[in-house]
Assembly symmetry: C2
DNA sequence: TCAATATAGATTGTTGAACAATATCTTTCT
DNA sequence: AGAAAGATATTGTTCAACAATCTATATTGA
C-alpha cells in the first residue's frame, strides 16, 4: 500500500492528480460543488491555477462545469453507467478480436490475474478492484492504439468515480477474479468466440451489480439542489 | 456558407472554439509554437484565460504542452494516423454491429449522403469533406453512447487537423461519396456482414490516402527544432 | 575554427489583488 | 405564502509582478 505520488510536472498537473485521487476515493460527495477559494486553499494553490485544474478534470469527465455556477463533482447516474458499459462493450470486443498470442498484453494480463488472486486471498478488496481495472485496461492494449486506450481510461476513471461514491466498495469486484482468469485462458488459447461470449457475460454482470449498487446509493442523500449538492462543510 | 459562430458560454469556451477552428483550417503550421502573449493578443484575451484554453485544447489532443516550453500545435505523424485509424476501426465496426433499421442515425446518414452528392456536383470539396466526417459521426451514433461519440469526435478532430495541415485538402474526400452511399444502403438493408466488409475497405483506402498525403507534406518544411516548428512570424 | 561556458534576454509558471457579471441568500412588502 | 428588492458571496476575467526555466548570444579556451 505505497501511497507513492511522484513529484513531477507543473503544479497544475500535480494538483489535478491530487484532486483526481480525492474524487476517486470519494473524498467529495457526488454532485458536490467545489468552491474555487475553498479547494484552492485546501491544495495551497492560487485560484487561477486551480481553474486550469478544473478545466483539465472537466474535460476528463470527472467534473462538470456550469457557467457562472462553478464546478461540480460528476454524479454519474443510471444513464451514465449504461453509457459507460456500452462504450466498454465496443472497445473491449474490439480488443478481443485484436488479441494475438505473441502480444505483450497477454503477459500483463496473466500477471494481473495472479496478483488479483493473491489479493483476494488476502482480503484486500481495494487492491482487487484496482487489479480488475488494470486487467481490462491491459486487455485494451491488444488494439495497439494509444488513443483507444486513452478513451478507455477516461471511461474507467468515471467508473472508478462511481465506485468511490458507493458505500460498499468492498467485494464488488470479488466475483470477477475468476472470470478474468477464465477470460485470460480463453485468449491464451486463441478461442476468440468463447472469449467474446465470456466478455459479454462479464460486462452484463458487472453492469448489473454497479447499477444495483447505484440504486442503493440513491436512497441515502437527503437534500440537494440540482446538478450538485450544496453541503459546504467538509474536512 | 454562413460563418455562424454562436456567441455562448464563457470567454474561454469561445476562445477555445476559435483556436480550434484556426487549427483545423490550418491557420497555424504543424508543430508551430503558440506563444502565450502572442495568441492572447491575437484573440484579445488575457494570458490567464488563454492558459485555460490551452489546457482544454491539449486534453483534446489538438495541442501538445511541454512543461516550461509552452504549447505546440499537434503535428500528427504517420504513427498517429495509423493509431487514429485503429481507433476508428474498433469504434465503427461496433457501430455497424449496433446498427438497427429504426434508428434515427440512419435518416441522418441518408440526408448527409444526399447532401454530399450535391456538394460534389457543385465542386465544393470543403463541404464534401465535412459531410463525409458527419456521415461517419452519425454512424457512430448507432451505438447510442455519448461517451463513445465523444471519443470518436476527438479522434476525428485530430484527423481534421491533419487535413488542415495538408496542402491539397481538395478532392481527398471525393472518392468516398459513393462509398458512403453504398455503406448506407447496406445498413439500410440490414446486410451487416457486407457493410463490415465495405467499412474495412473504406478505412483502408482512406488511411492510405491520408498517409500518402502526409508523406507529400513531410517533404516541404525545411527547418524545425524538436516537437514543433520554430517559425515565429505569422499573420 | 570549433566547442564549452557564461551571460543576457525571453517565455512560461504561478501568485495576489482587483473588479464586473452573475448567482444565491435574506429581508421586506403585499 | 409568494413576489419583489436588496445584500452578500461566487464566478469570470484581467492585470501586474516575480521566480523558474528555457533560448539565444556573446565569450572564452583549446
Amino acid at each position: 500500500m505505497p501511497a507513492d505520488m511522484e513529484e513531477e510536472g507543473s503544479l497544475a498537473s500535480k494538483a489535478a492528480g491530487r484532486i483526481r485521487n480525492m474524487l476517486i476515493e470519494g473524498y467529495f460527495g457526488p454532485g458536490e460543488k467545489l468552491s474555487e477559494v475553498q479547494v484552492a486553499g485546501l491544495l495551497g494553490i492560487s485560484r487561477n491555477t486551480l481553474r486550469e485544474v478544473f478545466r483539465i478534470l472537466a474535460s476528463q469527465g470527472l467534473l462538470t462545469q456550469v457557467p457562472n455556477r462553478g464546478a461540480f463533482v460528476a454524479a454519474p447516474d443510471e444513464a451514465a453507467v449504461i453509457d459507460i458499459y456500452r462504450t466498454r462493450r465496443v472497445i473491449q470486443r474490439g480488443a478481443v478480436h485484436a488479441a494475438t498470442l505473441g502480444h505483450p498484453a497477454l503477459a500483463r494480463m496473466r500477471a494481473l490475474v495472479v496478483e488479483a488472486e493473491d489479493m483476494r486471498r488476502a482480503g484486500n478488496w481495494q487492491a482487487v478492484g484496482t487489479l480488475n481495472m488494470d486487467f481490462h485496461r491491459a486487455m485494451v492494449e491488444f488494439c495497439d492504439s494509444a488513443r483507444l486506450s486513452a478513451c478507455f481510461d477516461l471511461v474507467m476513471a468515471e467508473l472508478r468515480l462511481v465506485f468511490g461514491q458507493l458505500a460498499d466498495t468492498g467485494h464488488l469486484h470479488e466475483p470477477y477474479v475468476e472470470l478474468n482468469a477464465a477470460l485470460y485462458k480463453l485468449l491464451l488459447e486463441g478461442r476468440t468466440a468463447e472469449a467474446l461470449s465470456l466478455l459479454d457475460h462479464y460486462l452484463i454482470q458487472s453492469e448489473r451489480s454497479v447499477l444495483a449498487a447505484l440504486h442503493r446509493r440513491r436512497a441515502e442523500p437527503p437534500v440537494r439542489t440540482e446538478p450538485g449538492a450544496s453541503r459546504t462543510n467538509r474536512r
